[in-house]
């Protein structure tokens, strides 16, 4: 039972072109932004499976970076997220891979992001229709459902205890 509301079906209001490859990914990025209390300075992004094959065409990279910059799914700035990331001093890498070991879904990403002292490694999947799920934070399996009408800031607060200091995370 992943779909809980009529607005999971009619919605989100979003910048195109794909609810699973664009909008749902903005939400994953935005969750990480909230988890870190702001935009990261570094992000290493892995795209798996369908994301890996089609991320350029769907603007999945722009969507994730837009989210990491704090944008919502209907922000027209997503179109220019690559340039905006550069301007905001967000250094990123993107690596396409096959399938994800930890979560069986074709639209999966793993993002290692650093802001100040904090480093998080977050696994997210975009389930379709703009709905997403965070399934892993710093090596712990979690089950956080993200609908665009949710308050991400409040949701992320509950998981900030999972953040690690950078040196600990690097050695973990």
């Amino acid at each position: 039972m992943e779909f809980q509301s009529c607005f999971d079906i009619i919605g989100p209001i979003m910048v195109g072109p794909s609810s699973s490859h664009t909008a749902g990914v903005v939400s994953i990025g935005k969750f990480i932004y909230e988890l870190l209390d702001g935009c990261p300075e570094e992000a290493d992004i892995i795209f798996y499976d369908s994301f890996a094959e089609t991320y350029q065409g769907h603007g999945t990279d722009k969507a994730l970076l837009g989210g990491l910059l704090g944008m919502g799914t209907d922000d027209p700035g997503i179109r220019h997220a690559l340039q905006l990331a550069h301007k905001s001093g967000l250094d990123y890498t993107i690596e396409p891979q096959g399938s994800c070991l930890f979560f069986d879904h074709p639209n999966t990403t793993m993002v290692t992001a650093k802001r100040g002292d904090h480093l998080v490694k977050v696994g997210g999947a975009s389930l379709g229709g703009g709905l997403s799920k965070i399934f892993m934070i710093n090596g712990r399996m979690v089950d956080i459902r993200l609908s665009t009408s949710d308050d991400f800031s409040a949701l992320a607060k509950n998981y900030q205890v999972y953040r690690l200091r950078e040196e600990i995370a690097r050695n973990a």
Binding site: I9, I13, M14, H21, S50, L127
Partner: protein
């Protein structure tokens, strides 16, 4: 209160003497804790955004950044104005509005996912065509979105709605099925008739693969949205005539799920099969991505 199948939905509608749309509104109130006014306002906001996307798309003939879509909504709009469309006024206008929305989507414009962005043209297409052709009022169209979301809610929770998970049958198939049931309810059909329309539309798209050229939501997606509106209207007409789906809707959804599970990865939005790997499809991909590397 929870509704997990079309059978349960119809039993509820029968017992409470509610339409499918009213049932969704009740369910949303119970589940979200929001009051009815707030929920209605949120749905109105979505309908308004859908209209804005149609208005922009019917005037904008510019190509998408890829150069492989754009301009067809304007072409179709002019053809419809000429007064000669073979499919009649309802379907031809629905196709125009659908193209407009899907082309806006490809330009990274703002649209409403219904249920996904890839299938976002179908519901606005049929709803605004109903308004244009028989003056269906705004508040009825809002209720139509509750009908559509109730049907989509059952489909999404029993099967899937994204091309990556279940192929285009799950995406355009689900949207056309939702639209068929919505038209039926808006035109005075019973909940049973609306669910038959949903089943008939879904059966007609069963097995459709997701094979976007270069991985872009453009070819064949934009035109499949246009054609999706015509399947929705045809299925609604059949249901309103009293034609029933011999296979119950819940079983059709189950079949869609199984077909999607059996579908190879190459045909589920990876751009590794179908139209994506035709000679022309591959040339487009090479032009767009390989030259940049």
């Amino acid at each position: 209160m929870e509704i997990l199948s079309m059978r349960e939905l119809l039993e509820f509608c029968e017992k409470e003497q509610k339409t499918i749309g009213e049932t969704m509104l009740m369910l949303e109130e119970k589940k979200s804790g929001r009051d009815q006014q707030t929920i209605l306002r949120m749905m109105e906001e979505r309908l308004i955004k859908m209209k804005e996307a149609v208005d922009i798309g019917t005037k904008d003939s510019s190509p998408a950044p890829s150069g492989i879509s754009g301009g067809d909504a304007v072409k179709m709009g002019e053809y419809v104005k000429s007064g000669k469309p073979l499919t009649g006024s309802y379907i031809s206008q629905a196709m125009t509005f659908s193209l407009a929305t899907s082309e806006s989507n490809a330009r990274m414009g703002v649209i409403v996912a219904t249920p996904t962005a890839g299938a976002a043209g179908i519901l606005p297409g049929v709803l605004f065509s109903l308004h244009q052709n028989d003056g269906t009022p705004f508040k009825d169209l809002v209720m139509g979105l509750f009908t559509a979301s109730m049907l989509g809610y059952v489909i999404a929770n029993r099967s899937f709605i994204s091309g990556a998970a279940g192929g285009c049958q799950a995406e355009v198939g689900s949207a056309a099925a939702m639209a068929a049931g919505t038209i039926t309810e808006l035109k005075g059909g019973s909940p049973q008739q609306a669910v038959h329309a949903t089943a008939i539309a879904m059966k007609s798209l069963l097995g459709l693969v997701c094979d976007p050229v270069a991985g872009l939501v453009e070819v064949p997606c934009v035109k499949r949205n246009a054609i999706g509106t015509s399947i929705a209207f045809s299925a609604a007409d059949l249901a309103l005539a009293g034609v029933e789906s011999r296979i119950p809707c819940d079983e059709v959804i189950e079949a869609m799920y199984k077909v999607g599970k059996d579908m190879p990865r190459t045909l589920r939005e990876t751009a590794l099969g179908g139209l994506a790997v035709t000679e022309t499809g591959l040339k487009v991909k090479e032009r767009l991505f390989c030259s940049k590397k």
